[in-house]
Amino acid sequence: MPLSTQSQTGGDNYVLVASLDNVRNLSNILKAITFKDHAIFNATPNGLKVTVEDSKCLQANAFIQAEIFQEFTIREDSVGFQVNLTVLLDCLTIFGGSTVPGVATALRMCYNGYGYPLTLFLEEGGVVTVCKINTQEPEEPIDFEFCSTNVTNKVILQSESLKEAFSELDMTSEVLQITMSPSQPYFRLSTFGNSGNAHYDYPKDSDMMELFQCTKTQTNRYKMSLLKPSTKALALSCKVSVRTDCRGFLSLQYLVRNDDGQICFVEYYCCPDEEVEED
């Protein structure tokens, strides 16, 4: 990646400028999808989408709408690049992670375009830090071809109860089995570990269940190791929607409220565990 020889501090060359008064509105969301080093950034006039993938079976996306930013200027229809997410997060949290009320770190993120590094200006209490992170050519994110028309089952739950279940899941189980059905047990999470199996059942009339739309009984297994990172997003969220389509692909969508009460979304797509399909 050639670093440009031109001056990079001038504002004219930027194709993307995004500013936040509170960098945590970005860093917190990104922490929820940091299970791999590299992330694909895609900016459009609507906002920023950050994608992380794992072994072609799992994809996590974080959406931060343009309205969240104090300034969001984009000169092209779509700006894409890839950066090391761990390094980016280290820079965003360079002033430390403490949340002292009234003190916030401000961010100004600038990108000149293909081949240029991502420049971050972070300011707290009059101290400014400038970070330049090398960018790479963005890979094309996998299209899981998950569309609403193929969705067979959908539930929306309040995160509180799901958080409890996920924190207790038997980690000796290789898979997490999700059963969704218009009849008993409605919505069930199952594990098969060393000590035996465990089931967590959510009835459709539970007050934790905000929406219950299940058309047919489906049972799918997903690798526990793939779904484990989603617990970070779950921890941040207040609501989660769980959808499966006719192929058994899983979509988890988390509604996250940031420090200022604004809404962002994180979604996870996961392929079902192939071995079970043969049964």
């Binding site: 109860s161 279940a165 924190s167 000590s195 035996g196 199996n197 967590y200 009835p203």
Partner: protein, 392 residues
């Protein structure tokens, strides 16, 4: 088998299981007519615990008819059912325990708030009955105390401490850490607490004696007792005989049976110095240390006064050290309370402490020393049967 536990009792059941996990790796479950027995034993068979929940503890208690059912399973698996103890009370409404003979699974179903149902199907193995033979009532000594008292006492010992020694006389109980003979004498930190008999709900000492047993297992019981607020009873005889720790109420009976070190292992490798039997012997002649000043300090101060160094949190209690808190001693005591406080392992202060300790042994007319001599001599006795000391 079909049992249902409701409300606050679910947490009691969960705490019992966590308590049993401190003893052994396996949980033995046996539904009996007089209640559900949950037992565990450690690998060396030196510690056994039994929680017997009477049928009244349950809102439904049905046991298999005919042949007795006994099983055992890995205790970690059962603990996984009752994770996050703190939220159990708030979230779990009832717990249903069912036996499925056909699939050899024991099913724990937790009915939680918001309609959430947690079902755990655990596999088990058939097992023989696990029963320790003991008879509490025939023990010569019996103490009963509120759990808070014992919890506060063991708090002073480091978590790494393996064994604790409990010595009783007519009016007092001493708790001290047991130091291995192989341990570096100069590096050993000695901690001792003395409780007087009026701190206990019941104090019946038949014969003055000292027993040593595993502290970790005692702590396991105390965690349970403290959460239920029930008094802990301790039944014991001479060293070598097991100590039985008991917690009882109308629906529950808990017994922890712990082996104690026998007299031989208590006294082996010690020289025949009666004064040193109480703690590991110092290698040199400590009697030439500044004993006189300490003797004077002891004679002029009172025994039963709160030692501020040892019990900063409960100034009204009667916790004391056996030696009097002179100024030098006070700072030493405070130092000794801190774990791994290297200053106290330096030779001079250590010796000072021990000489203070044994300063109390010197014959004098004060009642304090009389009592300590009595127990000293009994402890030092080589013979199994304790005879009372004849005082000079």
């Amino acid at each position: 088998m079909d049992c249902v536990v409701t409300g606050g009792n679910v947490k009691v059941l969960a705490k019992a299981i966590h308590s049993l996990s401190r003893i052994g790796d396996e949980l033995y479950l046996e539904p009996q007519e007089d209640g559900l027995a949950l037992r565990s034993v450690n690998s060396s068979r030196s510690a056994y615990a039994c929680f017997l929940f009477s049928p009244l503890f349950f809102s439904r208690y049905t046991i298999p008819l005919g042949h007795a059912f006994r099983c055992k399973m890995a205790i970690k698996c059962v603990q996984a059912v009752f994770r996050s103890l703190s939220s159990l009370e708030k979230t779990v409404e009832k717990c249903h325990i069912e036996l499925d003979g056909e699939t050899s699974r024991l099913t724990f179903t937790l009915h939680c708030k918001h309609g959430l149902l947690k079902t755990h199907n655990l596999s088990f193995q058939d097992s023989e009955s696990l029963q320790a033979v003991f008879d509490k009532e025939s023990c010569a000594n019996m103490l009963r105390a509120q759990p808070r008292l014992l919890v506060d006492t063991v708090l002073h010992f480091p978590p790494s401490l393996e064994e604790v020694s409990v010595s009783v006389s007519g009016e007092r109980v001493w708790f001290r850490n047991h130091v291995d003979d192989e341990a570096e004498q100069s590096k050993a930190m000695l901690t001792e607490l003395c409780l007087s008999s009026d701190e206990f709900d019941h104090f019946a000492v038949g014969a003055q004696t000292s027993i040593t047993f595993c502290l970790k297992e005692l702590r396991g019981l105390l965690v349970f007792a403290e959460s239920t607020g029930l008094p802990v009873s301790m039944y014991f005889d001479e060293p070598g005989s097991p100590v039985v720790l008991s917690v009882t109420d109308s629906v529950l009976e808990v017994n922890f049976v712990l082996a104690t070190l026998s007299d031989d292992s208590n006294l082996c490798n010690h020289n025949n110095n009666t004064k040193r039997a109480r703690s590991p012997p110092p290698p040199d002649d400590f009697m030439t240390d500044d004993i006189d000043s300490y003797l004077i300090a002891m004679e002029t101060s009172e025994l039963a006064g709160p030692s501020d160094a040892l019990a900063p949190r409960s100034p009204s209690s009667n916790h004391t050290l056996t030696t009097q808190p002179s100024a030098a001693m006070r700072s030493l005591e405070r130092g000794e309370e801190e774990e791994e406080d290297t200053e106290d392992t330096e030779r001079p202060p250590n010796k000072k402490f021990r000489s203070l300790f044994f300063g109390s042994v010197c014959p004098s007319d004060s009642q304090l020393t009389n009592q300590t001599i009595k127990s000293q001599e009994v402890l030092a006795s080589d013979s199994e049967d304790d005879t009372q000391a004849s005082l000079p």
